[in-house]
């Protein structure tokens, strides 16, 4: 078959470890890069590019959360708050010091990592549901703190205006420019994560996830790696928060409430826990779900329902679909979209001569 071998025919370690198992893989990556970096920004309108922007931002956050939940097996319902930490750090740096993006993004990430590691400290003592509830508490406490400390929140309605970032003296004004800017970070996050999970740290994460006591016994410092997982994951979340702030042009804690934490958890569950492709697919899926629901109902719902009814139906249907899909994937396909994609690929591996 063109895109995959029909079996495993590797005879040497270098062949086994090769990044591109077949020449076609290299071409596929090149084609994807060409499509998303050249063709998409040239052809799509502002509105569609702005949706893609949202997906790119979500990819960074979903990858980060997947490192923590999917690879290390710790739960966090506080990622929305970690994003707000990054967002407000960056916003304050921009407003008070006029910091450029290459300062604010790492700074926002590091601040979030610090807070995330702090929240992760109880993970040594508590796990499972207790940790879930502790991170939920962190979410609420961080939200409250930002909202009640004017030094962080900038006072009026806890929101800070942030101008778009500038690159080589040019301010990124259009959605397409922003798209290329965000794409760089999404690619960085994807490459970074795929390298991380193959490294010593990543292997340790997986060992902690599979059996933390056993991991401790074979010499992995559970505490250290759990904290690392929290810190790295929160770093991604912080960066996501900064990027989102640049995208919106405003830092506002209402954009990072508990529903956001749940959205990101839904992304990695629907996409697939412990999978990079899954994070990407899940981010796209969950971002598109409300947009497609709204578009579909606004286009065709008018035939059955009145406009007043539609205003009530759209947000609620979105909630029902969202919750229903989480449950559906958990019950029917726990490995998520990533598994579905693998199934399709495996089917075509020996197509059309499958036996």
């Amino acid at each position: 078959m063109l895109h995959r071998e029909s079996g495993i025919f590797k005879t040497s370690y270098p062949a086994d470890m090769a990044l591109y198992p077949l020449p076609i893989a290299k071409w596929a990556v090149a084609a994807f890069a060409g499509l998303f970096i050249v063709i998409v920004p040239l052809t799509l309108g502002e509105y569609y590019v702005s949706i893609l922007d949202l997906i790119l931002i979500a990819i960074v956050g979903a990858l980060g959360l997947n490192i923590l939940v999917g690879y290390t097996g710790q739960i966090s319902i506080g990622h929305g708050a970690f994003m707000s930490v990054g967002a407000y750090t960056a916003a304050n740096l921009v407003v008070h010091l006029g910091a450029p993006f290459w300062v604010t993004i790492p700074a926002g990430g590091l601040m979030a990592a610090l807070i995330g590691a702090l929240v992760g400290i109880p993970s040594l003592r508590i796990k499972g549901i207790y940790l879930a509830i502790a991170t939920l508490a962190a979410q609420l406490i961080i939200e409250w703190t930002i909202n009640h400390v004017p030094a962080i929140s900038g006072g009026v309605q806890a929101s800070i205006q942030v101008p778009r970032p500038s690159l080589f003296g040019v301010q990124l004004k259009t959605q397409t420019q922003l798209y290329l800017f965000l794409m760089a970070f999404a690619v960085l996050a994807i490459v970074g994560t795929s390298n991380l999970v193959r490294s010593r740290i990543g292997r340790a994460f997986i060992a902690v996830r599979d059996q933390d006591i056993a991991a401790e016994i074979i010499g992995i410092s559970t505490f250290r790696y759990k904290l690392w997982a929290f810190a790295i994951s929160s770093f991604y979340a912080g960066v996501t928060g900064v990027l989102y702030t640049y995208y919106l042009g405003i830092a506002n804690y209402e954009q990072f409430q508990i529903t956001v934490s749940i959205d990101y958890l839904a992304m990695i569950i629907i996409g697939g826990l412990g999978s990079i492709l899954g994070s990407i697919l899940g981010a796209a899926f969950v971002t598109l779900l409300p947009i497609v629901t709204r578009w579909f109902l606004e286009s065709f719902g008018g035939l059955i329902f009145s406009q007043a009814d539609l205003a009530n139906i759209i947000p609620n249907l979105r909630l029902i679909l969202f919750g229903g899909l989480i449950i559906f994937f958990l019950v029917v396909e726990p490995e998520g979209l990533n598994r579905l994609w693998r199934n399709v690929r495996n089917y075509f591996r020996v197509w059309p001569f499958s036996y």
Binding site: I126, A132, L140, A214, L317, R318, L330, V331
Partner: protein
Amino acid sequence: MPEFEWQFTLVLLTNGVMIGLMYALIALGFVLIYKATDAINFAQGEFVMFAGFIAAGAADLAGAPFWVSALLSVAGMVLLGFGLERVVLRPLIGRPVIAVVMATIGLAAVLRGTATLAFGAGTRAIVMPIGDEPIELGAVMLPPVQLIGAFVSIAFLAGFSWFFLKSRIGIAMRAVADSQQVALAMGIDVRRYFALAWAMAGVVSALGGVIWGAMLGVDNQLALVGLKVFPVVILGGLDSILGAVVGGLVVGIVENLAAGYLDPYVGGGTKDFAPYVLMIAALMIRPEGIFGRRRIERV
């Protein structure tokens, strides 16, 4: 610092106790499920909200009298409990904690969407056939709704304590919670008791929904009382009914005292904040709670 007035403190304390007992009632639904099935119900607040919507909807739309609508709500929640256990929770038995947590979070979204879709976004009232006139007890004024809530809570908490301690079904449920395999070997139908636990949680949520709905009015904000469940059960212990009472009282009192004494300095909102700080402290010092059972883990 305002002058220390015993009267003000007394009012705060009484309110705290009353609210705390009502928190305990909602936490009871959570504890019942955790005790019997080891599942964490993040949708407890939505259960309460949904029950409130059924009761308020029955009264508003069909003109049912209070007792009928309350009974309808109980019946509806029992059916919902059975149904959810069968469709959502049973396939997740034996899966990691996060799967159950996320499933109930998904459930919460579905319930919130369905309730608003079916009953509208407006606030509905549940009218109890009792007066609004507060009852005076010395310096303290108590709304009758809160008194009834407290009584119902105490009755149910006592009833369920007896149930788990003495009745055959209750003992079987404890056995299931202790070890599903051993319970199966002793001839206990584990699935039946799982379903029963969810149905019982439905009953408790229905009562919680009617009482809280009568106090606050029914809309999707009612689900927010569910957020108070976590400090309550963490403080008291996830699998202890007595713990739910004590935790509820502590949370009720702490949040009222915090609101009374701290709010003027920090600009409000301590009511939602203080219980969580307390909970973090509890998690650091004694994660299993005051009355909870410590679990020993083996490889």
